[in-house]
Amino acid sequence: MVEFLQFTLSGLSFGMIYAAIALSLVLIWRGTRLLNFAQGGMAMFTTYIALEVIRHTGSYWAGFVVALAAGVVLGAAAELAVVRPALGKPELNAVIITIGLLILLEGLAGIFYGGQYRSFPAAFSVIGLRVGSTPLGVSRFDVFVALAVLAATLLLAAGFRYTSAGLRMRAAAFNATVARLSGIRVARVITVGWALAGLLGALAGVLVTPSTFLYPNSMDSIFVFGFTAAVIGGLDSALGAVVGGLLLGVVLSYAGGYLGSQGSDLTALVALGILVVVLMLRPDGIFSGARVRRV
């Protein structure tokens, strides 16, 4: 029972990371109808920047803030420089461009910082919390991870719901043509969406890297699971992204915990199992709306 609680809590903490990546993918999908394969690479790059800042200033929080700011800049720059020129061309072109961006960023990270594994500091203690003498399986830092992603998600949701900028973004995602006709600068709104996605990705990067290591490919598997979470939840649904991320995190944690070493080798296979089951029942994810098909 204690074990179950431990696995659940640590799964939820990792699931929040997947949720953050999934949410950033949903943000971009709703505005641009594009999967951004560079999302993980951008997060890796901003985490390197954070590490440099921490090393020079000695302050974790300076690095944290700079990483988020770099995420905003990188997201907006990617949209303006390489994604926008590709819209209106065959759909897969923009996908390949984001893949090119991913490879470019990984190459640049290797050139600037080398390929060796670096450790990244955590904001708080990573020693497991205990209730009495029972370990909970999560640390102070894990709690911070969960709270940080939760705060970002709620802020974003509130922004979308209660501000006029949020209303413009929802309108642009819902129907770009009508939004444009009513005077919304759809292009600018889409750039803001990419910037916010960059911010979420950067947040996920600095939060997950203390439990992995930092190297040019370090975000690859996190991206794959984040993408899986977004697909499970339904790419149009922000709530779906969070639910998908948590579901994936918890199930993968059980698999790693209960199935022993074989289980941790097979996490991707377990994730594939969840994905197949969900998509068999709902081909557009759990939180998809009714499927419309024009004849």
């Binding site: 999908w29 109808r33 897969l92 390949i96 090119g100 697909v231």
Partner: protein, 350 residues
């Protein structure tokens, strides 16, 4: 159409075979190895360009099919001492069966959902090799021994023989796919890609067409995986990462999605650009971490530039160049050539 195009395809394949034979004799063994590498890439990319370009289904998991083909080849060569060409054909057949299973599971999925499912397949399947170390050799993988046949003499370089074998299989694959693409099956794929409802009304079995595309594509990838196994002499999970699956799709799109010449151009780009950039970087005396990463950065930049400058891929640029000289190239299977109808579903191929 069929009666006239078949001799043309065969003729092109023969010319290519002669050119490759001459090149492989003139060039050194490293270049021979590259020829083999390109031929393997072409085999896999041609299969993917059929799946994504003709039937409109994206796959980010064809690396998993290559892994299946490679492991089947390694296990068969290890346990049964069959001739390699039989083993390769069998590897393609078994992978095709796996493709049928994936195709049935994927039949209801569209766009990004299919992309996500196949991407995860590409990541998950090779990890099975880590979990069952005893059978698949774990991280170390399985060794594959491949030698030149006796009739070529003892001094015949192995890399040249490998280049010949891989090129022969690649050319046969291209000829078969070219004919398939022009046949009734190819037409039904294009119909399904452009408008599923219209295709179904016209009597095309949409589900069967979609699954068949996965089968064909998997067979090609399985064959390519088998060839990779005999050329590298080792089958290990590290060779079948997400990077491989993504590189296959990249090659297909860069070359010109849905065209077989495009599969060749794309394979040339993804094999030669990194090698060339490495040569340039090392010859300028850069430090090793910089020199080993410049090719990666250059490759990424090339992908972005090609997609922005040539939206129809390299084959589109070639066709445009030929058009300037008044030469019309063979009709191929681009959506705009086939029908003015745009795919109805917005997320049709993404």
């Amino acid at each position: 159409m069929t009666t006239r195009s078949t001799p043309r395809v065969l003729g092109a394949a023969l010319v290519a075979a002669v050119l490759i034979a001459i090149l492989s004799i003139k060039l050194n063994s490293f270049r021979d190895y590259q020829i083999a590498e390109i031929a393997i890439e072409v085999t896999a990319v041609a299969g993917l360009t059929i799946l994504t370009g003709l039937s409109g289904q994206i796959s980010l998991g064809n690396g998993a099919f290559m892994a299946i083909g490679a492991y089947v080849t390694a296990l068969l060569l290890l346990h049964l001492n069959w001739p390699f060409y039989l083993v390769l054909v069998l590897a393609a057949a078994i992978t095709a069966a796996a493709g049928a299973v994936v195709g049935v599971a994927a039949a209801r999925l569209r766009g990004p959902y299919l992309a996500g499912a196949t991407l995860l397949l590409g990541v998950a399947l090779p990890s099975v090799a880590y979990a069952y170390t005893g059978f698949f050799g774990g991280d170390q993988g399985l060794d594959v021994t491949f030698t030149t046949p006796a009739f070529l003499g003892a001094n015949f370089p192995l890399t040249r023989w490998e280049a010949w074998v891989c090129s022969a299989f690649a050319l046969v694959t291209l000829v078969l796919l070219a004919n398939l693409g022009r046949s009734r099956v190819g037409r039904s794929w294009r119909a399904v890609r452009d408008d599923e409802v219209a295709a179904a009304l016209a009597g095309v079995n949409v589900a069967a067409a979609r699954v068949l595309a996965f089968v064909v594509s998997a067979a090609c990838a399985g064959l390519a995986g088998g060839l990779l196994a005999i050329v590298t002499g080792l089958v290990a999970p590290g060779a079948f990462t997400i990077t491989l699956s993504i590189a296959l799709l990249t090659a297909a799109v860069i070359g010109g999605l849905g065209t077989l010449p495009g599969a060749v151009w794309g394979s040339l780009v993804i094999v030669l650009v990194p090698t060339y950039a490495t040569d340039v970087a090392t010859s300028h005396g850069l430090s090793s971490s910089v020199a080993s990463n410049i090719p990666l950065a250059a490759y990424g930049a090339v992908l972005i530039l090609v997609m922005l400058l040539f939206p129809q891929g390299i084959q589109g640029a070639v066709r445009w160049l030929l058009g300037l000289f008044g030469i019309s190239s063979a009709r191929d299977w681009r959506p705009s050539d086939v029908s003015p109808v745009q795919p109805r579903e917005k997320e049709g191929t993404q």
